[in-house]
């Protein structure tokens, strides 16, 4: 494989956790609830996957518990923002702070031990024959394929099913949706929780695919990059694939550059994903100056049934 093919493969691999977390965020935001707890949900998912991996050695249990952990934070977020109509920004921040603490509290006693769990790569030997494109897809992790399937499922769900139509209605105009007989609160609860489970899965994938060890703040801001990716992807799952891979590309590029040129201090290369996020969002803002951003119309506004708009 040539240099670019390997670079793209590592970009896809690095983009996968971002992609899954972004999908989770898209689900919540399509229902009109801002999820700023993604970073926290990923962290808790990662630590649960790690602990279950160390204690049981079962990959399946790791994934299940990571998703349950994310989902319970999702329930908390929906209770705060849907039922109590609290400020969604602060609710998400609180969840992230809480789970940053909780994850390092839970992970501490297991520190150092390496769980014997991982997700295998899926090889397609016959694809190797096709130059470049075939080579890229010949040897990808099963989790990457799972994330692609997830993208397709969510895309079909959001844009081609009646439930997806209801979901979009809830996010754009909950009062209209309510008048049409759609259970607004139930949709919000369900979608936020489902999205949060995906964020937990994204965290677990960091442990299962990348580094089978735990250190505090393992996600290093990936959850926040996912928040930016939602905007960059215009709340669309298919676009999210390309956006996540672009970010994975910058992360991978940093690693590669470090190998080829050790005169640049690694600290500056590590800054790349963060600076890219800001620059990309500035580009999106500039591009969107004359057209709608694609944001759900009622994003962040709690729906109060008794209140006239």
């Amino acid at each position: 494989m040539d240099f670019f093919a390997t670079l793209i493969v590592s970009a896809i691999a690095a983009g996968m956790p971002l992609l899954i977390a972004t999908l989770g965020g898209i689900l919540a935001e399509r229902a009109g609830v801002i999820n700023l707890g993604i970073e926290g949900m990923m962290l808790l998912g990662a630590v649960m996957a790690y602990i279950l991996g160390v204690t049981t050695g079962s990959t399946a249990l790791s994934i299940v518990f990571a998703m349950l952990a994310g989902g319970s934070l999702g329930l908390l977020l929906s209770f705060l923002s849907v039922t109590l109509r609290a400020n969604q920004i602060v609710a998400g921040l609180g969840i992230t702070l809480f789970s940053t603490g909780l994850s390092s509290y839970l992970g501490k006693p297991y520190g150092g031990s390496q769980p014997d769990i991982s997700i295998p790569d899926i090889e397609f030997p016959w694809l190797e024959a096709i130059p470049f494109v075939g080579q890229i897809f010949a040897d990808l992790n099963a989790m990457v394929w799972a994330s692609f399937v997830l993208v397709a499922l969510l895309h079909i769900f959001i844009f081609y099913t009646p439930w997806g139509l209801h979901l979009r209605a809830v996010g754009d105009s909950p009062s209209t949706a309510d008048a049409a007989g759609i259970p607004v609160y139930r949709y919000q609860y369900f979608m936020v929780t489902l999205g949060a489970m995906l964020c937990g899965l994204a965290g677990a994938s960091l442990i299962l695919v990348y580094t089978p060890s735990w250190n505090d703040g393992l996600t290093s801001g990936r959850g926040w990059i996912a928040v930016a990716l939602i905007i960059f992807a215009r709340w669309n799952p298919i676009r999210a694939v390309f956006c996540a891979c672009l970010f994975g590309f910058f992360e991978a590029l940093g690693f590669k550059l470090q190998l080829y040129d050790n005169t640049i201090p690694p600290y500056f290369l590590k800054m790349m994903p963060y600076i890219t996020t800001i620059l990309v969002l500035m580009f999106v803002g500039w591009r969107n100056r004359k057209r709608p951003s694609g944001k759900p119309e009622s994003l962040g506004i709690p729906y109060i049934r008794e209140q006239r708009i």
């Binding site: 926290g40 705060l80 969840i95 809480f98 930016a228 600290y267 963060y274």
Partner: protein, 369 residues
Amino acid sequence: MDKHLRIPGTQFRIRFFKDTSATNTPWWIAIASVICAFIFSGVFIALNGNDPFLVYGKMLGGAFGSSYGFGETLVKAIPLLLCGLGVSIAYKIAIWNIGAEGQLVMGAIAATAVTIYFPGLGQLSSLSLMVLFGFAAGAFWGLLTAIPRVYFQVNELITSLMLNYVALLLLDYVVFDPWKDPKGYNFPGSPMFTSAQELPVFGDSRLHYGILIALAAVCIYAALVKYSNWGYKLRLLAANPNAARYAGIAVNRQIIIVMLVSGGLAGLAGMAEVSGVAHRLMYGLSPGYGYTAIIVAWLAKLNPWGLIVSSVLCGGVIVGGYSVQLIGLPASMSMIIQGAILFFLIGGEALKAYRFAIVRLPSNLQESG
């Protein structure tokens, strides 16, 4: 739904009522949410096989039990007060600056730059230059958040958080590479400051004059908000951004000013931390002051005077977190409690219409004796 509860043996009763037009949050929600947060976190501590009462006892004893502990709590409260003031100014006009951590680190780096590039200055000139540089660097970092927000409609939450990571990596770079103390046995930190570059301390405690800077900042801000033209604009923007815009207030300019001030205050906190406590720039300088500042600000309901109380409380939670390390628990315990405080606080907002008041019984109903 007026309900009355007579306090037996006195002439007073408690009146419970619902005030649906209430816009401000009653005082008891802050206290109740702190208590609920401790109970909630206690459940997790208990689930993990530790005794929550023992843990909380240790935390309380560590933070407020001795004069040394309380001194440490106050030392931690200084950066929290400065950062908390900074973010609460921004939150007041709904600018979600969560980048106080990065702004603090930039202030610390800039203040240290003074000690490295102007080593021979006297105490007054060197300290004032450090204050100036610390503020300017924090303000610059705040500006980097404000510009994308104002000119490119970029959500300031994400920008400010990303800049935290950038600032922390920059800190790692300078302490591991160019500014590393050659005589420091490979410790990732700058050379120790000279006494002319250190903020003076009270007596032989560790409490430094940074507390005066912080309290002065609170007083100046409180006065400005109440009496100045700028404060009026700020209050108008806080109350109704649309009305403010129609009244001709340049909203974008206000956002930039607020982010400059907000970042600058956090930068001052960084300066105070290196010059008053660590006496050098070092790896892991801040145990997340910038994030705790968010809780400090909300707990105080963005009120500058309330910040003084909430910063001491949160400083106590941080110090308490260190003291539970003695019984083998991670200091991140304090982060659990902080996060829980935050979501109980905002969840509690839902109850803001519910009030209670202690009222005197009408004289015809008063019990004799």
